[in-house]
C-alpha cells in the first residue's frame, strides 16, 4: 500500500524524466510525458529553429528541447516541419537544407542528418510502403518559379535517396492513403498522385482553387485539400475520393484566403482550417461551408488537434518579432489556456 502511494507520487512528481504514463493520454511516446511538441521556425534568416514542449499536466513549457537534450547543440537551421515515424522524429529544415533525426523518446540526435545535393529545399514528409517521401522545392529559376520541384524517396534504414520523382511547382504538403502518395503543388492548382509500389506518378488532379497546400484524411477515407487561392484572392476546400481520385465536393472560402494549414479532430468528422479571419470548422459530411470563424483572430499560423485531450492548439506568431503564443481551445471555441513558444510556431506533434 505504502509502496503504491510512494510510486504514484514519484510518477506525478518526476513525469519529466520517468516513463510513467497517465490515463489521460492513450499513447505517450516520449519521456517528457503528455503534451505537445511545438515546431518553431526561428527568426527569419537566422537558422535558429527549435522545438518547445508543452507539458499538459504541469501547464509548463520546456524551451529549446533539442539544445537541452543534446549537450548544448542546437538544430542549426530554420525548421520547416516535423514528422514522427517508428520511434524517430524527422526535422525537415532549410538554411541549410537537411533532415535531422532525433529520438521520439528523449529528442537526442540519432545519427547524421540526411543532407546533400539530393535535398534541395525539403518541406514535408510522409511514410508509406516502407519508404519516406519528402517534397522538395528544388532551385529557383530565372522567373522565381520552382519548375524543378520533386519528391525524394528515401530508404529509411539506409538513410539514402533511392528515387527523385518530378512533380509540379512548389510541392508542399504530402499525404499517404494506403499506397498512394498525394502531393499538393502549392504554386499551381494541381495535386499529383504517386504510386508507391512503382514510385512513379500515376495521376494528376486539378483543384478548383489555386495553391493546394495541405491534406487531412477524414473518417470516410476522403482526403481534404485546403487551397490558399491566388495572391490576394479567394481559396477554398476540395474533398477528394481517394479511391476514384476525383473531387466530390468543393467550397470556396468567399472573401477569404486560407493560409494553407488544416487539422482534423480525433473522430475524423470535423476539419479545422485557418484564414485571415481566424479558425474555421466544418463537419466533413456537411455540404454547407459556414465561414463564420469558430475562433476569431487575424494572424494564426498553426493549427492542430490533440486527439487525447480533445483540444485545439492554435499558434499566433506575434509578427515573428518575439516568441509566438500558443492557445488551447475546447472544440466549442472556448479558450482553455495559453503559453509562449519560441519564434514562429508553425505546427505541432501531439503526445
Amino acid at each position: 500500500m505504502k509502496q503504491m502511494k510512494w510510486f504514484t507520487l514519484l510518477c506525478a512528481g518526476l513525469f519529466l524524466f520517468s516513463g510513467c504514463s497517465e490515463d489521460e493520454n492513450e499513447n505517450p511516446v516520449s519521456s517528457f510525458g503528455a503534451g505537445a511538441l511545438i515546431v518553431n521556425e526561428g527568426n527569419f534568416g537566422q537558422s535558429d529553429g527549435s522545438l518547445s514542449f508543452y507539458h499538459t499536466r504541469s501547464d509548463s513549457v520546456t524551451e529549446d528541447v533539442i539544445k537541452k537534450q543534446n549537450g548544448g547543440e542546437n538544430l542549426g537551421a530554420t525548421l520547416i516541419s516535423a514528422y514522427e515515424h517508428d520511434g524517430l522524429i524527422y526535422l525537415i529544415s532549410n538554411s541549410p537544407d537537411k533532415i535531422e533525426i532525433v529520438s521520439v523518446d528523449d529528442f537526442t540526435f540519432e545519427g547524421a542528418p540526411l543532407a546533400g545535393p539530393d535535398f534541395v529545399a525539403p518541406r514535408y514528409m510522409t511514410v508509406t510502403n516502407g519508404k519516406a517521401y519528402v517534397t522538395c522545392w528544388g532551385d529557383w529559376d530565372e522567373n522565381f518559379t520552382l519548375p524543378d520541384s520533386y519528391v525524394a524517396v528515401i530508404d529509411l534504414s539506409q538513410r539514402t535517396v533511392i528515387e527523385k520523382i518530378r512533380v509540379q511547382d512548389g510541392a508542399e504538403g504530402i499525404f499517404a492513403v494506403g499506397d498512394k502518395v498525394f502531393v499538393a503543388n502549392s504554386y499551381t492548382n494541381w495535386v499529383t498522385v504517386i504510386d508507391s509500389d512503382t514510385d512513379e506518378k500515376m495521376d494528376s488532379l486539378q483543384t478548383a482553387y489555386d495553391a493546394p497546400n495541405d491534406f487531412v484524411l477524414d473518417k470516410n477515407k476522403k482526403l481534404w485539400v485546403v487551397c490558399k487561392g491566388p495572391w490576394g484572392g479567394e481559396g477554398g476546400l476540395v474533398r477528394i475520393n481517394s479511391d476514384g481520385m476525383e473531387a466530390d465536393f468543393e467550397a470556396v472560402t468567399t472573401g477569404l484566403s486560407p493560409i494553407g494549414k488544416i487539422a482534423i479532430n480525433g473522430e475524423g468528422d470535423r476539419i479545422y482550417f485557418l484564414t485571415g479571419a481566424g479558425v474555421h470548422s466544418h463537419p466533413v459530411n456537411s455540404e454547407d461551408l459556414d465561414l463564420d470563424p469558430l475562433i476569431s483572430g487575424g494572424d494564426f499560423y498553426a493549427i492542430g488537434y490533440h486527439p487525447g485531450e480533445n483540444a485545439l492548439y492554435v499558434a499566433d506568431p506575434k509578427g515573428f518579432q518575439t516568441a509566438g503564443r500558443v492557445e488551447r481551445y475546447n472544440p466549442d471555441g472556448t479558450m482553455i489556456n495559453g503559453f509562449d513558444a519560441a519564434v514562429g510556431p508553425s505546427s505541432f506533434l501531439f503526445y
Binding site: N43, S257, L274, Q321, T322
Partner: protein, 640 residues
C-alpha cells in the same frame, strides 16, 4: 559676406610642421585666425547652422591610412555609430542613436545617396579610396537635410581641400589574408585655378577565413567579393569669388552572399552585383548680394540579386538639384534659404511597373550670434511630394561659451529638433503589399552637451559629452496578415535615451607624437508599443542595438615610424524584439605599424597590419561567422 577660413584638424599640424602659437578657438571648437594661405570656400561649413549639434570629423590620417578598407570599418573604430554586418565584407548598415539603417541620412557632396527602394545605405559599398572627408552629425538633422536624418547624418565628401599647385600621384598596393588584394592609384594636377584629379581602386578577396562551428573548423564559403571604381574630379576657380567643381564616382561591387555558419557546408549560390554611378556638379558665387551655391547631381543605383538561376534587378535613378542662398541680415545674424528638387525614376523588376516621383524641399536657416559667447541657430525644412503629406521639421540649437581663455574653451550646447523619414519606395509601391499613403516616421528629440577644448604648445585635448532623449513614432513594420502576405504599417513607437562621450588627446614629447581618441556610447532604445496585442515587447531593447559600445585608438609617431592600436568593444545585442536570445559582447584589437622612407622627392610608406590580434571569435549578426586574426602588408608611394 565674410570669407570663412577653413581649418583642418589640428592633428595634421603634428605631422606637417609642428605647432605655431596657441590661439583662441572659434565657435566650432577650432583654432581661429591662423595665417595659412587664404582658401576659397569649399562650401558653407556643416557646423554653421548646427549650433548645439554634435559633429565629429574623422581625422584625415585615418582616412589616408584606411584607404584599402571600407567606410564601415572606419566608422566602427572611430565613432559612436554601431555597425550591423551580415558577415565579413557583406552588407553593413549603421545604427545611430538606436535608429535603424534607414534613420541615418548619408550625403555625398550634399546629395542624399540612401537607397530609395529599401532605405538605408550599405556601408560596405563605400570604399574609403573614393572618399576624402567624413563628418558625422549625431542626432536629428531633418531641419537641415530632410528625410532620413533621424538618428544622424553621415557626410561624405570627395573633395577636402583645393589642391596645391603642381602634380601629385599616389599608388598603393596591399596584400592580405584570405587572398585579399588591394590596388589604388590617384593622380592629380593643379595649375592653381584649375585642377583635375583621378582615382582608381580595386579590391578583391576570396574571404575564405576559417571559423569554428560545432567544435570543428571550416573555411567560409560563398563569401568572396570584389569591388573596383573610378573617381574623377575637376575644379575651376573662375575668380576668387566664383568656383565650379565636378565630381563623378563610379563603383562596381560584386559579392557572394555569405551563408550562415550552419549552412556553410552546403552553400547556396547567392550573390549581389551593384553598380553605382554618382555625379555632382557645384557652382559657388560669393557676391555682394550674398553667397550662392547651386548643386546638381545624378545618382544611378543598379543592383542585381541572384539566387540559384533566378535574378532580380533593383535599380533607381535620381536627379537632384539644390540651390542655396545666404546673406547677412544684420550684425550677428545670417540667414540661408534654399530649395531642393529630386526627380526619381525606378527600374525595379519587383514593382512590375515604372514609378516616377518628384520631391521638392524648401528650407530656411538662421544663425544668430547676439553676443560673442552665444550662438543660436534656427532651422526649418519641409518636403513636398504630390499627393503625399510630409511634415515640417524645425530645430533650434544653442551653443554657449561658458569659459574661454588663451588656451581653453568650454561650451555648453543644447538642441531640440524634429525629424522624419519618408517611407521607402518598397513600403509604398510594392505590388499587393505597398501602401502609398503610409505616414512618414517622425522623431522628436532634445539633447544637451558640453565640449571642452584645450590647446597648448605641445598638447591638444578635446572632451565632449552629450546626453539625448528621442521619441520616434509611426515607425513602419512589415507584418504578416494571414500566411504569406506581409504589409507595412505605421505601428511602432520607440523611445531612445543615451549618452555619447568622446575624448581626444594629442601630445608631442620631443620627436614622439601621440594621439589618443576614444568614444563611449550608451544607447537605451526601448520599444514603446506592442507589435501585436499581448506580445510582451513593451520595454524591451530593440534588436541589434547594443546598450554599451566603446572604442579607443592610440597612435604613436616617432621619426619615420608610426604604430596604431585600435580597440573596439560592442556590448550584448538581442537577436529579436522579444529579447529571448542575445549575442555575446566582444572586444577586438587591431594593430597597424608603418614606416615611411624618403626616396628623392617622394615618400614611400610600408605598412603592416594585424586585424583581430587576439583572434577573438565573435558574431556581429547571429549565425554569420566573422574572421579571427588576419594580416595585411602594403606599400604606398606618394609623388609630389
Amino acid at each position: 559676406m565674410k570669407k570663412l577660413f577653413l581649418l583642418w584638424l589640428l592633428g595634421n599640424y603634428l605631422f606637417t610642421g609642428g605647432f605655431a602659437q596657441p590661439h583662441p578657438l572659434n565657435d566650432y571648437g577650432e583654432a581661429d585666425t591662423i595665417e595659412l594661405e587664404e582658401l576659397v570656400i569649399i562650401g558653407i561649413p556643416i557646423e554653421k547652422y548646427a549650433a548645439g549639434s554634435r559633429i565629429q570629423t574623422i581625422e584625415k590620417a585615418r582616412i589616408e591610412n584606411g584607404r584599402s578598407s571600407k567606410l564601415d570599418d572606419l566608422l566602427a573604430r572611430n565613432s559612436a555609430i554601431y555597425l550591423k554586418e551580415y558577415g565579413n565584407g557583406m552588407l553593413s548598415s549603421v545604427s545611430m542613436r538606436g535608429g535603424s539603417s534607414s534613420h541615418t541620412a548619408v550625403l555625398w557632396n550634399g546629395i542624399n545617396i540612401n537607397t530609395l527602394t529599401a532605405g538605408g545605405f550599405d556601408f560596405s559599398q563605400a570604399p574609403i579610396a573614393a572618399i576624402e572627408k567624413v563628418d558625422i552629425q549625431y542626432g536629428s538633422a531633418s531641419s537641415l537635410y530632410g528625410s532620413d536624418a533621424i538618428g544622424g547624418v553621415v557626410h561624405l565628401s570627395s573633395i577636402d581641400e583645393w589642391p596645391e599647385k603642381g602634380f601629385r600621384a599616389s599608388f598603393q598596393q596591399e596584400a592580405g589574408s584570405f587572398r585579399t588584394w588591394f590596388s589604388s592609384g590617384v593622380v592629380s594636377y593643379s595649375s592653381g585655378p584649375f585642377y583635375t584629379k583621378t582615382s582608381l581602386y580595386r579590391k578583391k578577396s576570396r574571404n575564405n577565413f576559417p571559423f569554428i562551428y560545432r567544435s570543428s573548423e571550416q573555411r567560409q564559403k560563398n563569401a568572396a567579393y570584389q569591388y573596383y571604381g573610378v573617381m574623377q574630379e575637376l575644379g575651376y576657380r573662375i575668380n576668387p569669388r566664383q568656383s565650379l567643381t565636378l565630381s563623378g564616382w563610379f563603383n562596381h561591387n560584386d559579392r557572394e552572399v555569405q551563408p550562415n555558419m550552419q549552412a556553410n557546408a552546403y552553400p547556396v549560390r547567392e550573390n549581389l552585383r551593384d553598380k553605382n554611378l554618382r555625379i555632382s556638379a557645384n557652382y559657388k558665387l560669393d557676391h555682394q548680394t550674398g553667397f550662392y551655391s547651386i548643386t546638381s547631381g545624378y545618382v544611378h543605383d543598379n543592383e542585381l540579386y541572384a539566387i540559384d538561376k533566378a535574378s532580380t534587378k533593383i535599380a533607381t535613378r535620381r536627379w537632384v538639384n539644390i540651390c542655396q542662398y545666404e546673406r547677412d541680415l544684420a550684425h550677428g545674424l545670417t540667414a540661408k534659404a534654399g530649395g531642393e528638387w529630386t526627380h526619381i525614376v525606378t527600374d525595379v523588376d519587383g514593382y512590375q511597373r515604372e514609378i516616377s516621383e518628384d520631391r521638392i524641399d524648401g528650407f530656411l536657416s538662421l544663425n544668430y550670434t547676439p553676443f560673442r559667447w552665444w550662438n543660436s541657430t534656427l532651422n526649418i525644412r519641409r518636403t513636398f511630394i504630390r499627393g503625399y503629406e510630409a511634415p515640417t521639421t524645425p530645430s533650434i540649437g544653442n551653443s554657449l561659451t561658458i569659459l574661454e581663455n588663451n588656451n581653453g574653451k568650454l561650451i555648453f550646447k543644447t538642441l531640440a529638433s524634429k525629424g522624419y523619414r519618408i517611407p521607402t519606395l518598397n513600403d509604398r509601391y510594392q505590388p499587393l503589399s505597398g501602401n502609398p499613403d503610409l505616414l512618414p516616421e517622425k522623431s522628436y528629440s532634445i539633447e544637451a552637451g558640453v565640449r571642452y577644448d584645450l590647446l597648448e604648445e605641445r598638447r591638444r585635448l578635446g572632451i565632449e559629452a552629450t546626453a539625448y532623449v528621442m521619441k520616434v513614432d509611426e515607425l513602419i513594420q512589415w507584418m504578416p496578415i494571414g500566411g504569406d502576405l506581409w504589409i507595412p504599417e505605421n505601428i511602432r513607437k520607440v523611445a531612445v535615451h543615451g549618452l555619447e562621450g568622446h575624448a581626444e588627446l594629442e601630445t608631442q614629447m620631443g620627436d614622439l607624437a601621440m594621439i589618443f581618441t576614444g568614444n563611449y556610447f550608451y544607447t537605451r532604445s526601448i520599444n514603446k508599443k506592442e507589435v501585436k496585442a499581448g506580445d510582451g515587447t513593451i520595454g524591451k531593447q530593440l534588436a541589434y542595438s547594443p546598450e554599451h559600445s566603446a572604442n579607443l585608438i592610440a597612435e604613436a609617431r616617432l621619426n619615420q615610424w608610426s604604430a596604431t592600436v585600435m580597440n573596439h568593444f560592442t556590448g550584448r545585442r538581442y537577436t529579436n524584439l522579444g529579447n529571448q536570445s542575445s549575442l555575446q559582447p566582444y572586444f577586438i584589437t587591431d594593430l597597424d605599424v608603418a614606416r615611411s622612407i624618403s626616396v628623392g622627392g617622394s615618400i614611400c610608406m610600408l605598412s603592416f597590419k594585424i586585424d583581430n590580434v587576439f583572434n577573438i571569435r565573435y558574431q556581429n549578426y547571429y549565425s554569420k561567422a566573422m574572421p579571427g586574426v588576419g594580416f595585411h602588408a602594403g606599400v604606398r608611394i606618394d609623388f609630389k
